[in-house]
Subunit: 241 residues, 2 copies
Amino acid sequence: MLMATAAQSLPPIEDDHPCFGCAVRHLAVCGSLESDALREFKANGPSVDYEAGQTVVFEGDRAANVYSLTSGLIRLSKLLPDGRRQIAGFLFPGDFLGITMEEEHAFTAEAVAPSALCRFPRRQFDDFVADHPALERRLYAVAAHELAAARQQLVLLGRKTASERIASFLLMLADRCPSMPAGDETDFPMSRADIADYLGLRIETVSREITSLKTARVIQLTGRHSFRILDRGRLDQLAEG
Amino acid sequence: MLMATAAQSLPPIEDDHPCFGCAVRHLAVCGSLESDALREFKANGPSVDYEAGQTVVFEGDRAANVYSLTSGLIRLSKLLPDGRRQIAGFLFPGDFLGITMEEEHAFTAEAVAPSALCRFPRRQFDDFVADHPALERRLYAVAAHELAAARQQLVLLGRKTASERIASFLLMLADRCPSMPAGDETDFPMSRADIADYLGLRIETVSREITSLKTARVIQLTGRHSFRILDRGRLDQLAEG
DNA sequence: CGACGGATTGAAGCACCTCAACGGGAGTGG
DNA sequence: CCACTCCCGTTGAGGTGCTTCAATCCGTCG
């Protein structure tokens, strides 16, 4: 129903359109473009694939390209000199990679799972955006949304306890990537190490807190990388502090 | 010299212009507008003043207005149900308040020091932005910049130690608000409590770490709310981890 | 089967927090 | 002018939540 709503406002495209069948057009920045404009846009943006673990952009690289994620999962991270790592966020299908006015990427982007992206040369992308106000607005909306999410994460990292962080994280996952068949199950492709570096914890702590939630019958582990929420109210309560 | 550079690209305005003499036009979003457009813009944006401690917008308030800070200092914060507080950022003169596509403000904005802002009704502001691509681009640039700053802060909160956080904070201050007369001195108007809630620490820890830096001759306290950097290299090193 | 990497569990340590006392500058009133 | 108070910041002592170090478990793959 949500998709239908989004689809209603989505400009229609033809069967032979290069973006026909794109599963995330209603989510991505592309969704703001009319058929012809989108065709022109996509002409500059070949699809590129990355395997799990591969790096899309390195921190400090010249920001020569921007990307739109069509499938898979990307992590944005930064490394301190001594090896400590912080993951600033995950990109899900439909998300945009390359919100910056700087010359260099500030964060490393790596594929967590096999991922496909549309890649656009930065220069051409900027020119194209300048000619398409709807796209520019959409980009601003995306940036504003990412900013709000990042600030929300600041609250988590600055003030929440380990169990509150885990609860918040599980809720976020349940919201963003519900498993396809059974709606009540959620699977997450990232490792415990990724979760830890995203939540500012150690993997042992992540493991312990997840076990603790399991023991308390708040969640049920349906696999190493999937779970089911048993007591949503309790989880909400925990996440809020 | 920096100001001169910025001023070169700044559209000139007349002596009788309502924004004539505005000290932050080269920093603010307004800087992207030509004289006439700026005049029209400012016609919708009266100046409003707040005293230290007063709230500009409450978390959850309908986002009816947006603001441009012309002088003073604003903090963006969020409160957890049990009173824990996290400050997501500080706004300095020239900064924009109201980057959001949501209906409600996600954070509370309070004046840390006496502050003056130009206030614009959100609706009119959006309409105006839609008619002025240069302003729209500037807003996107501002949002991208804020996003990068927020993500950098995520690294600090997630992975840095107390002394690294303090070092990073002092460097940020030295960068953003150098005291007017002597360039090597920096004063900061916020309390230890504000610093603590920004860095995810307790005030006692902030106090101890500052004392520690003072004892190590890395900084010199020139007052309760001002300091001088004695060993920049060491401070950089500490901040990096 | 044996080895490897990711995840879990246990025990001990430490960085930061909590609680509590003290200090010092600003404002007030005698 | 001093005494008093209040608020903010500092300092000290003890506690704890998460980390660190280490062992074990388990699914996967050669």
